[in-house]
């Protein structure tokens, strides 16, 4: 590329950067990303795509741009990793390389790299674990018994080499749970318990399995291969992931049944406060509305989302950290917004409303929703 061509590209780049800056839209971000890609600036492309997605999270083009940038970045890293590996055959380098291929979704390469590593380092458990992960991804996607069996074989190989590898035990426990291998679930959950690993999911698995086979299973035989073939022929797994089953059970037994329990009352109180016209609480795709709001499609919800996102971006770039709360005043009255992560609470009030106390209440509301969400997640 000669100097004039370079200059032309840089001028175009400057123009697109200004455009994306002044009138942000998915297309201005994508146009700029395209130039970054052409110049090989993949890291910048990724940052740009993430910035764009913060403003336009539903944009398919921006998601594609992000995926493409990630892929390019991974491919570059793979290239440099292979050069390092050609210089020194080190098991850690093989693992890193296999991880990168796994991230890229290139399972054949994962297999090739791990098999080569196992040939050179027969006692290497990590390569078996990586192969198991790759096979499990394939199994959960296609429900093919062959991949399931291969995953089980590799996980067992890991445990033969080192019986204390928690990740392998956990993957086996989860796989056994999903295909309905009750004895195997008990075996691995108990082994994890002996290793000091206890959490709510493992506990739930154990309790459910113990309830369904109360007599215990000592000495019983369980044909994992047959269970995997059953899954393949039925075209569906026997059980959902344990976390989802627990949530379904909690929903069925809770009075309210949704994670916004408790936030409703507070929001209703806020909507009744003097001067407040509209009140909303948004988390992801869910929204609660109170006051003069027609429904979930009320424009106020979109304005709230846009203001929260724009404020977050401005605060970050102006180096004052994360946006937490704020007000917008105008001929429409006053809008108060409080945001943390993907939870946003907002009010629309009359112009003469004192919003200091209301903003604190909004912050309390968002905090309460986060606490209840984390309790449900625990």
């Amino acid at each position: 590329m000669n100097l004039i061509q370079r200059l032309k590209i840089w001028t175009e780049l400057r123009r697109l950067e200004t455009r994306a800056h002044q009138s942000p839209s998915p297309s201005t971000f994508v146009d700029l990303g395209q130039v970054y890609i052409n110049l090989g600036m993949h890291e910048k492309t990724l940052v740009l795509a993430e910035e764009g997605l913060a403003l336009f999270p539903q944009s398919v083009e921006l998601r594609k741009l992000k995926r493409f940038a990630q892929k390019k970045q991974l491919t570059e890293r793979i290239g440099s990793m292979r050069v390092r590996l050609a210089r020194s055959k080190d098991a850690t380098l093989y693992h890193e390389l296999a991880h990168l291929h796994l991230e890229l979704g290139d399972f054949e390469s994962v297999q090739g790299v791990c098999e080569e590593c196992i040939r050179r380092f027969p006692e290497d458990a990590e390569s078996h674990l990586l192969l198991a992960r790759a096979n499990l991804l394939g199994f959960y996607r296609d429900l093919g018994a062959r991949e399931g069996s291969a995953a089980v074989e590799h996980l067992r190989a890991v445990l033969r080499l080192d019986g204390d590898v928690v990740a392998a035990r956990r993957l086996l426990a989860e796989l056994s749970w999903r295909i309905g291998a009750q004895i195997s679930v008990l075996e691995h959950v108990d082994a994890l318990g002996r290793l000091g690993v206890r959490d709510a999911e493992l506990q739930a698995m154990r309790e459910t399995v113990a309830q369904s086979s109360p007599a215990g299973a000592d000495g019983d035989y369980e044909d994992i291969a047959a269970l995997l073939h059953d899954v393949e022929s039925r075209g569906r797994l026997t059980r959902q992931p344990v976390s989802r089953e627990r949530r379904a059970m909690q929903d069925a037994t809770s009075d309210d049944g949704d994670e916004l329990h408790g936030v409703r009352d507070r929001l209703a109180r806020l909507a009744d406060a003097p001067g407040v016209r509209k009140a909303t609480f948004i988390r992801g795709a869910k929204a609660l509305v109170r006051g003069e709001i027609r429904d979930g499609r009320d424009p106020f919800l979109r304005v709230t989302r846009v203001v929260a996102r724009a404020a977050q971006r401005a605060a970050k770039r102006m180096d004052v950290g994360n946006f937490s709360k704020g007000t917008v005043d105008g001929n429409f009255g006053r809008i108060c917004v409080c945001s943390y992560g993907e939870s946003i609470a907002a009010l629309e009030c009359t112009a003469d409303t004192d919003v200091t106390a209301l903003l604190d209440e909004l912050q309390e509301l968002v905090a309460q929703s986060l606490v209840s969400a984390s309790r449900r997640g625990a």
Partner: protein, 123 residues
């Protein structure tokens, strides 16, 4: 006019908690600024414009006829950002997290009014 705006910005910048102040146009062009070393005036102007334009566009698209935005106050973990409309543009102030808004807002609003008057006289 510009000397007067400069002196008003300097007055605002002299407040302890203020890290920077600027007058910017609606479309993100800097009129005058007084910013600490870490800030770039084009970035501050661009972001202020982005915030205002994005909010205005969202309101217009959602059926609010001719929304007139007067003021923004944003609280963040390490500081606060205040924007006040001064007619054709915006007065922007960035403060640290210790700013007492109850006290500072009055001063900020007063300076915004004076700048608005200056802009009118200038026009």
């Amino acid at each position: 006019m510009s000397n007067r705006i400069e002196s008003l910005l300097a007055e605002l910048f002299a407040v302890d908690c203020v890290r920077g102040a600027a007058v910017v146009t609606d479309d993100g062009i800097v009129v005058r600024s007084a910013l600490h070393g870490g800030y770039r005036e084009d970035v501050v102007a661009g972001l202020a414009s982005f915030l205002v334009q994005t909010t205005r566009r969202a309101m217009t698209e959602d059926g609010c006829e001719a929304p007139q935005l007067d003021r923004f106050v944003l609280h963040a973990t390490h500081g606060k950002i205040l924007l006040a409309s001064v007619g054709e543009g915006w007065l922007v102030a960035i403060t640290d997290q210790f700013a007492h808004l109850a006290e500072f807002e009055a001063q900020f609003d007063d300076i915004a009014v004076q700048i608005r008057n200056e802009v009118r006289v200038g026009a």
